[in-house]
């Protein structure tokens, strides 16, 4: 199951195709598989990153969001008297697969100014530098886009 991607990874990264290096690569692939088997690494379908056709669009949109909120946080850092009003809020995440929820929570944390504290079945606890950021999350644009990744799987 895990062998082809690992072997490809080795070949792309090494860039040398001599006999010795290919043997070393095979040995390391076997070693990694043995370690994963020993650690009872669960092979589950929903952890495979689905290459959805919407993934590039999501990444671009997320990059824009990260930049916008990063500028806001930079302003807070350099202002002589930062008006910090951190809040802990809850944003709903109903009926999500584990994968979508992981993507959603990671996106929340990746955006500066918001941080996912606790992930539950149908809600995510968020710490935010600004109460408005939690309201924006509750509006649910990020959630809609994260869901869009799932439906086109």
């Amino acid at each position: 199951m895990m062998v082809p991607p690992l072997a490809l990874f080795w070949l792309v990264l090494s860039g040398h195709y001599t006999f010795l290096l290919i043997v070393l690569g095979a040995v390391s692939v076997v070693l990694v598989c043995w370690l994963a088997w020993r650690a009872d690494f669960p092979e589950r379908d929903d952890v495979v990153l689905p290459l959805s056709p919407r993934l590039p669009r999501y990444v671009l949109w997320l990059g824009k969001e990260v930049l916008v909120s990063a500028v806001a946080v930079v302003r807070k850092v350099w202002s002589p008297r930062p008006d910090l009003r951190p809040v802990v809020g809850v944003t709903p995440s109903p009926d999500m697969s584990v994968f979508t929820q992981v993507v959603y929570a990671n996106s929340i944390t990746l955006t500066p100014g918001t941080l996912s504290l606790d992930v539950d079945e149908d809600r995510i606890e968020v710490h935010s530098l600004d109460a408005e950021d939690v309201d924006v999350l509750r509006d649910g644009e990020m959630m809609r886009r994260a869901r869009g990744l799932e439906t086109r799987r």
Partner: protein, 93 residues
Amino acid sequence: MIFAVMAALLVTMVLALVRAFLGPDLYNRILAINMFGTKTVLFVAVAGFLFGRPDFLDIGILYALVNFVAVVAVLRLTHHDEPATGRNGDGHS
């Protein structure tokens, strides 16, 4: 420009170290050390470009791996009394 980036990274690493020394508690220190690690990855990558040796990027990849595993391991160490949870536990509880 590469020099400016390296200077900025060095200053930030020093700031992270100051935070790690000041504390005041364990979490602030782990946070600072984690940030120090990611800055080291960037520093190694930028240094590779400065010296014209892209092989440095491999070291950067390794450092990123080790840094992540180190943070998880430290948290396991300090929270060893809690039941070890799998993917569902850590992501979902």
